[in-house]
């Protein structure tokens, strides 16, 4: 009888452990689904987001803007910059590489903004001027 009780206890413990682990695992899974990972370079054309590229992946992409404008966005070693642009002032091309949350590169003639965004964090800057 004592033996039976013990067995039952062990069985119940196992069931409890499985339930606890299952709940915890579901929680973790849900958290991960709703979480955005790392930082991105967001491309905005005339204020509207068109693309976002993770800073963790090296990329080179040509952004086509209004009036047949082109800005070549490069992501390299976690930093984003404009390698080449057909705009007249080339201010975006001259801008240093950005990687801080809140930093932007603006091409006024082409109405392009590259902005660094990331998952919510206390360290985020609201604006860099």
């Amino acid at each position: 009888m004592v033996n039976m009780n013990n067995k039952r206890k062990i069985k119940n413990d196992v069931i409890l452990a499985v339930i606890v682990i299952a709940i915890a695992a579901t929680g973790l899974l849900l958290l991960n689904v709703f979480k955005t990972e790392g930082a991105f370079a967001v491309v905005k054309l005339d204020g509207k987001e068109t693309e976002r590229y993770p800073l963790s992946v090296n990329t080179e992409v040509v952004i086509e803007t209004e009036n047949d404008g082109k800005n070549t966005l490069v992501i390299e070693d976690g930093k984003a910059f404009i390698k080449d642009a057909t705009c007249p002032d080339k201010i975006c091309e001259g801008h240093s590489k950005i990687s801080f949350k809140g930093e932007t590169i603006v091409c006024l003639p082409h109405k392009v903004v590259i902005e660094i965004v990331a998952d919510d964090s206390d360290k985020e800057l609201d604006v860099v001027v």
């Binding site: 039952r8 606890v20 849900l30 240093s96 360290k123 985020e124 604006v127 860099v128 001027v129």
Partner: protein, 373 residues
């Protein structure tokens, strides 16, 4: 049936209820975690960009409960920006509106007496105040000189190989028509008349900051808070940023050659304050390998070369705009005298070698920023 119900022992009863309690607590905590995004009205951050005003990019950032709320406030801000942009425009005319461009017009060899919106009168009266505060460094009657630079710069940008500097005698000739006392402002009748026919107004050094301050005032009067307006680097914060704490603002390194290692030279925490930076890196063109920027000294008629940038921290964005431009053209000592005559104005001067000089209270707003990820 997960648990056996026929365990008579008291200890087992206790274990059982504890286990059930544990599961309930776990489930409850997860439920609250999941629903927190929906039920608790936490303010969220939104931002929008505009390209149509003051020849620069505008960013509006705000913390609101819903996106609809943010968008509707943005629409109001946009309408205000649009109006100030048109009224203070020196290059374009708009149907049915007497703006600054109309004041600058000449018919039969002279300017006309132009009846204008009170917003223009107020701007010009403020400009007059700034003219005397800055010992003439802010002079909106310098249009004749500034338009020469504007044209040479635009030509230089579209054809860099043939970029040229304006000849000094041409600038000196234009300077003869920059006497601010010839701007006749009649605030009873809301009229403006430029009694020198060769004179034109250029409000570029002041209009943007002044307009931003008026819009901030408009928002505050409507009880709107937790917004940040950034019109081409002219930053005005209203209320608080994330988590109801001050906004965090970085200042770019004006030495573009060193931006790789040091992207920002200072980080500020600010609420209900403005930050305006005048820098040699913002608008310029290149002639024979040298950059010529847009802040023109009314005495030398050439771009000021004393600093890489000057940042002004104060409540009023109009004052910040006028001060950052004028301090850029003065020695530190001379600038400090003006700043000391005012309240709650803090300044950072960045010397050509990168050295940073501050007024006493500037560091009260700075913080250490550690980049993460």
């Amino acid at each position: 049936m997960l648990f056996s119900y026929n365990i008579p022992c008291f200890l087992d009863m206790k274990r059982k209820s504890l286990s059930i309690l544990l599961v309930i607590v776990l489930l409850a905590s997860q439920l609250s975690l999941l629903s927190s995004c929906n039920t608790v009205k936490e303010k969220q951050k939104f931002s929008e960009y505009y390209f149509d005003y003051f020849d620069t990019v505008t960013t509006i950032t705000g913390y609101t409960e819903t996106e609809e709320e943010f968008k509707s406030i943005c629409e109001e801000i946009k309408a205000e920006l649009n109006e100030y942009h048109k009224l203070y425009n020196i290059y374009l005319r708009y149907d049915g509106m007497n703006n600054i461009c109309v004041i600058n017009d000449v018919t039969d060899g002279k300017h006309n007496v132009v009846k204008v919106d009170k917003k223009i009168i107020d701007l010009l009266l403020y400009s007059k105040k700034m003219y005397s505060l800055t010992d003439g460094k802010i002079n909106v009657a310098m249009g004749s000189v500034l338009s020469i630079w504007h044209n040479y710069r635009n030509r230089g940008l579209s054809d860099p190989a043939n970029a040229e500097l304006p000849p000094i005698d041409k600038l000196e000739e234009a300077k003869k028509h920059t006497d601010f006392s010839k701007v006749e402002i009649n605030k009873e009748n809301n009229t403006v008349f430029l009694s020198d026919p060769e004179m034109t107004l250029d409000v570029g050094a002041i209009a943007k900051g002044y307009a931003v301050e008026r819009i901030a005032e408009y928002l505050i009067n409507k009880g709107i808070t937790d917004f940040l307006l950034n019109v081409g680097g002219n930053v005005r914060t209203i209320g608080m940023g994330k988590d109801n704490k001050p906004w965090k603002v970085g200042i770019e390194n004006p030495d573009t050659s060193k931006q790789e290692e040091i992207p920002h030279i200072e980080y500020l925490k600010m609420s209900d304050m403005s930050l305006v930076t005048s820098g040699c890196y913002q608008r310029f063109y290149e002639v024979n390998g040298k950059n010529y920027h847009h802040i023109i000294d009314p005495v030398t008629l050439y771009p000021g070369e004393k600093y890489l940038s000057v940042s002004v921290l104060t409540k009023d964005s109009g004052l910040g705009d006028a001060l950052s431009t004028s301090l850029f053209l003065m020695d530190v000592e001379e600038g400090k005298k003006i700043v000391d005559s005012l309240e709650n104005v803090e300044v950072m001067w960045v010397m050509p070698d990168g050295e940073q000089i501050y007024t006493d209270g500037f560091k009260n707003y700075t913080f250490e920023y550690i980049k993460e990820f």
